[in-house]
Amino acid sequence: MITTTAIESTAELTEQERAQAARLEAVWREPTGFWGWFKAVHHTTIGKRYAVTAFGFFLLAGLLAGGMRLQLAFPEAHILSNDLYNQFFTMHGSTMMFLFAVPMMFEAMSVYLVPLMVGTRNIAFPRLNAYSYYLYLFGGLMFYVAFACNTGADRGWFSYVPLAGPDYGPGKRPDFWAQLITFTEVSGLAVAVETIVTVFKLRAPGMSLNRIPIFVWGQVVVAFMVIFSLPGVVLSSTMLLMDRTCNTQFFNPAAGGDVLLYQHLFWWFGHPEVYIIFIPGAAIISTIVTSFSRRHVFGYLVLVLSLVATGFMAFGLWVHHMFATGIPQIAESYFTAASMVIAIPTGAQVFCWIATIATGKVVLKTPMWWAIGFFFVFIMGGMTGMFVASVPVDLQVHDTYFVVAHFHYVLIGGAVFPLFGAITYWFPKVTGRMLNETLGQLTFWLFFIGFNITFFPMHLVGIRGMPRRVYTYQPNMGWTTLNQVESLGYVLLFLAVCVLLVNVSRSLRSGAIAGPNPWNAGTLEWATSSPPPQYNFLHLPTVNGREALWDAAPNQPIVAGLPDDARSFLITRTLDAEPEGRDEFPGPTIWPFLAAVATSIAFIGSIFTPWGITIGAIPVAITMIGWFWPERQPAQRRRAREIWQSE
């Protein structure tokens, strides 16, 4: 099928190409105006919205952390009441996990970058993608509106029963928490399906499994983990809500229910969740280390294996959050085994990154600084992970500030450091302008030092016996000085984020123009202009190696023959990405927005009455039917040109 009809494909476009670009532009243009905003379906648009929204929630949760650090800076302080403090830490944890970390590391990154990296024009199921974003947004807004009305969740980000159950969690606070989970899980699951289908079926020809960029591998592994882990929290939060609103008895010991069932289901999701957050981080580090060591990553195979193995093993760790519940030790020890053995693939990744650096040419730009910071912080978190993996040691450190230190090292080290690296790395692609290098390094050093001042003392204060989730402590416990040091560290973290925001807003207006590939990197998103046009690529690319741009043959073929009067795309085979079919993406429409509004009404309604879901299902069904109802003109156009597959 490769013909020799040659076209020019370098900096300057030919007349013919310019006409093609204009046609694509017309077909792919997102609707404008007020209502246009609600109709947009392109993955770069939705991806940017995910990123901005998630970052907004990150800032909110960061401010809540500031409130907590203020309260804890003095023993028996009354700056926040106990009630407010309990809401603060619950909102902080829930926001960071459900409204920042997963939507940012998985949804935003995956939605924006994966289609570009695999060389296609949109994400699979773009309307579902828009719907998932609105649900996420509405869920987050609902959660914070409830907080503003003094109905903020206050039972911890895990909402254990019976504390959050009908008997000990009066009011509507735990219900809002449970429905936040419902909102975010629907959006997470939708993006997981989109990501898997995009990567399995929409890759550029030639991008066989062994050539998929590691970042994309990471997102696929995460997508599978989301699919198999989120059902755990779907069930636990639904059972919680039903216990509270419909009088079911799942967690009531007096009626044959069981409080540990909740924990099993919650952590079936909760532990993979940690890796859902960390794996994209690791994949970002692989990408940055490759680009800034100027060589193909060392041990591609091992890195992919590590991501895949971590994805599987993450499902064998959930009981290590329940070591103190009195489960028999032999049973718990299987989870000690898994928790420690999972360090082996992670160690393999670290060694491969160091080997890449040791055999490459290291360019110390800001993204690489964040990667180096990641090594210092994340490895420390991994090491303290060995303590919590051991049943006996965990019995001492579990639910103390040692664990708080551990998971902030793991999650900030494993997700926020790579994320800030990713922001500096991909900002030019998304906006077309470079971030300021000096301000970038200032952010890094403020954040790195501030982070360690804030969180390192938590190890010590935890060993000295300070439990988590206490709104205050007594002056004679010997915890005061360490807590004050931690609170001072927060100030540096706060400044670091301020500098980042200044840098972003300055660069958006007056940053240096980036050009298509400012880092001279090898993956496909750098093959198109910055920011990418709505159709992503003028010519769909083909791939000849792991770093598509570095390995491209001088006469690397391009894809032609897709009709440019529709949002066409190419379907390729899962294993070897040979072309196997064509299809069309649906265009912009208001229906996903309306469906998300209807769904939100049903979800929020069910907080107040069990009939919320039942009656709310009717508008949901109507909007869904409207969404899926075929449009006449495109149907006729497609029917006229149909080619059926030969069996």
Binding site: N210, G316, I327, P328, I330, A337, A338, E580
Partner: protein
């Protein structure tokens, strides 16, 4: 070799190879899953009856699965020896075979770790 950019169908023999590679790849995670989840469930029973036999049986089954996965992937890896794992199609098969070999080693380590726990600990601990 088939051209990866052509839309030709893989031959039935190639399809069989790919299916076997998938099987080899997924056997080790299956072993890991059985080790942790079934092992965890059975261990409760071990604690009640003070007999460790069932736990050892789980380990033995898992270990057999790992060896089986390793054997399949090793045999395919031998066929594709000399192929760079960044090449198209045949390279992809070599890649899958190697990943699945390493995965079975990792799964075996997990099974061994679980078995050490059963040996060291007493049911009443």
């Amino acid at each position: 070799m088939r051209d990866p950019l052509q839309s030709t169908q893989p031959s039935p023999a190639e399809k069989r190879t790919d299916v076997m590679l998938w099987v080899a790849l997924l056997l080790s995670p299956l072993a890991m899953g059985i080790n942790t989840i079934v092992g965890f469930t059975v261990a409760h029973w071990t604690t009640d009856t003070a007999r460790k036999g069932a736990c050892y049986l789980v380990s033995a089954i898992d270990f057999a699965l790992c060896i089986f996965a390793f054997a399949i992937s090793a045999s395919y890896s031998r066929i594709s020896r000399g192929t760079e794992d960044a090449e198209a199609i045949d390279g992809r098969r070599a890649f899958m075979a190697k990943v699945s070999m390493l995965l079975s080693v990792l799964a075996a380590l997990l099974v061994i770790a679980g078995t050490i726990a059963v040996i060291t600990l007493h049911p009443t601990d």
